[in-house]
């Protein structure tokens, strides 16, 4: 990524080493080969065989014939109303949780930047949710928002009376709200730690000089701080979007996509097609559409990233 590294490399490889030219040319391939071959076997090959499965009414029982059905399962994807709901929910999950994590993560990072009593302790505590298990925290939040004995409803009932409790996970929008709250709670520490590193690496004096020139508050942020941390911002944004689209465990464990499929995400719906309803061919078609779409979206993202970094 840095051009300096590349040119140094070139100079060195053509330099004093006495190794035969052919060995020199082959060495880079030899050293990247184990990792790439491994990845090809355990990830790329399954992606390809997924495509193959998507053209069959796949039967997992050995010896039973799986009839070839062509593109019909892709047509089924296009006509599936739940796919649209799942697409909406995944999009909403992304649009709600990604900006929230960025704003709150950057906010805490800016508060933690500089001298503050107990700084290392606060930073560690705020990061702890990131390293907790999704399975564990999904159950904790399911219990906090439990309709009968949950702490949230206990507090609501105590404050406003027993009629003010909510069946959080049994309704579409309150269920999604709980899932979003969990996602933001668990993610703030991750963006915080990256933003903190970026803020700390701003050359000392740049911000002070701007202050002397009269830049304060929002203007200071817009014209000085945000441009300085822009590479981190782009990276955090890309990683959070990738993570949001991959959300699975909270919905699978907390609402199971219900009520009536209304909180399904793309991944929970795809997973259930395969492993709850054993419709493997259809699940493979869904998965293939997703894989292709996300691969190209992320190629596009990296193009933008690279263009920005080059500029």
């Amino acid at each position: 990524m840095t051009d300096a590294g590349v040119s140094l490399t070139r100079e060195r490889v053509s330099g004093h080493r006495e190794a035969p030219a052919r060995r020199r040319r082959l060495f880079p391939y030899l050293i990247i080969m184990p990792g790439l071959a491994y990845y090809a076997l355990f990830t790329i090959y399954p992606i390809v065989s997924q495509f193959r499965i998507s053209f069959y009414d796949w039967n997992i029982v050995p010896g039973v014939v799986s009839p070839f059905v062509g593109l019909s399962q892709y047509a089924q994807v296009l006509g599936d109303a739940v796919v649209l709901v799942a697409l909406r929910n995944t999009a909403l999950y992304t649009v709600v949780t990604v900006p929230a994590q960025i704003v709150l993560g950057l906010g805490v990072a800016s508060l933690l930047n500089g001298r503050l009593p107990g700084r290392a302790i606060w930073r560690t505590l705020i990061f702890i949710p990131v390293i907790t298990s999704w399975v564990v925290v999904s159950y904790v939040f399911a219990d906090l928002f439990n309709s009968q004995a949950g702490l949230v409803n206990s507090v609501l009932a105590g404050l406003f009376g027993p009629n003010f409790t909510v069946d959080w996970l049994q309704n579409t929008w309150t269920g999604m709200l709980v899932i979003w709250i969990l996602a933001v709670w668990k993610g703030i520490g991750w963006s915080m730690i990256l933003f903190l590193a970026a803020l700390e690496s701003i050359t000392p004096g740049v911000v002070d000089a701007a202050r002397v020139d009269g830049a304060h508050g929002l203007r200071l942020w817009r014209h000085i701080i945000l441009p300085e941390i822009q590479p981190t911002m782009t990276f955090v944004l890309v990683m959070l979007i990738i993570g949001a689209v991959q959300a699975f465990i909270p919905v699978y464990l907390m609402t199971q996509g219900g009520p009536d499929n209304s909180t399904q995400l793309l991944l929970t719906y795809t997973y259930q097609q395969a492993f709850s309803f054993f419709d493997f061919g259809y699940a493979a078609a869904l998965a293939s559409v997703l894989a292709v779409a996300l691969f190209w979206v992320s190629i596009g993202q990296y193009r933008i990233l690279r263009a920005r970094n080059a500029a």
Partner: protein, 289 residues
């Protein structure tokens, strides 16, 4: 902040104003820390409460009659110690495999010119966006062909693969930030390319290797859908499956579930607290620089 910053600061605010500003920054930070901790503290609290408390509205934040029954219950149910050992084995195996493969590949991408380097690298990165959940079915079938379905080794092999793209990305970024002068000197002294990687690059890249280790360990320790689908033999279960089964088998035994959750959370927190001093540098330098 650094000394240079203090010198460049044009005027020093009065002490009382500075104290007020520190408090104004400290308060929201403490609030954030409390919100971050609260659900976990609640989990710990529930894990020490008798079942009656958990199922009724009378659950106490600080249990009046703390009990270890949930812990003994969780530990004795099925083979919890075995699941714990399984998760540890899978976590450590995944970390070792990922570190070996990704540092070799990242070194190749960082230090050598070769045809197709950038397209290959970006294709690898883009594949990071393909969710691992959608690959469970074909990976299951592959593991069946390799006779590794329902085994911990099968899980380790797949987890390593899942972790490769991001680890290679992070390590390549970090390696490229290491100056090449020392390498050139070692090369003149006749040290082999792999020797340079092993004796120079890897020790200097400790922060990035630490970050990769934390990520991959947590990922493997935490992974649920693939393990849940691939593992049938009770003796091969990992912790997330064991925890989820408290909900299904016993119509949610919340007490043991949270006791098990606490047991499962402790190692990841320890790993992080021990390794965190490398963590921030490793991820920020490797990913952004």
């Amino acid at each position: 902040m650094s000394g240079a910053d203090a010198i460049l600061r044009p005027t020093r605010a009065y002490r009382p104003a500075r104290t007020a500003r520190t408090v104004a920054r400290l308060l929201p930070v403490v609030l954030f820390a409390l919100v971050s901790l609260f659900p976990l503290a609640y989990m710990v609290s529930l894990s020490f409460q008798p079942l009656g408390n958990i199922l009724t509205v009378s659950a106490e934040i600080v249990p009046r009659h703390p009990t270890l029954a949930n812990y003994t219950g969780a530990w004795q149910s099925n083979d919890f110690a075995q699941y714990f050992a399984n998760s540890a084995l899978v976590g450590v195996g995944t970390v070792i495999g990922t570190l070996v493969l990704s540092s070799l590949t990242a070194y190749g991408f960082a230090r050598y010119e070769f045809r197709g380097r950038e397209p290959l690298f970006y294709a690898l990165l883009a594949s990071l966006a393909v969710p691992s959940v959608v690959l469970i079915l074909p990976q299951y079938l592959l593991m069946k062909d390799l006779h590794l379905v329902d085994s911990l080794l099968g899980l380790i092999l797949l987890y390593i693969s899942t972790n490769l793209p991001f680890s290679i990305f992070l390590l390549r970024g970090f390696f490229e930030g290491i100056p090449t002068e020392l390498e050139d000197a070692m090369r003149v002294d006749g040290v082999s390319e792999l020797g340079i990687l092993w004796r120079l690059i890897l020790p200097l890249a400790a922060p990035a290797l630490g970050a990769v280790a934390i990520f991959t360990f947590n990922g493997a320790w935490d992974e649920f859908p693939l393990a849940f689908t691939m593992i049938n033999t009770p003796g091969n279960r990992t912790l997330p499956i064991a925890i989820a089964l408290f909900q299904q088998a016993h119509t949610t035994a919340w007490g043991p579930l949270f006791a098990a959750s606490v047991i499962a959370t402790v190692p990841t927190v320890i790993v992080f607290v021990v390794a965190q001093r490398w963590f921030q540098e490793g991820i920020s330098v490797g990913a952004i620089q």
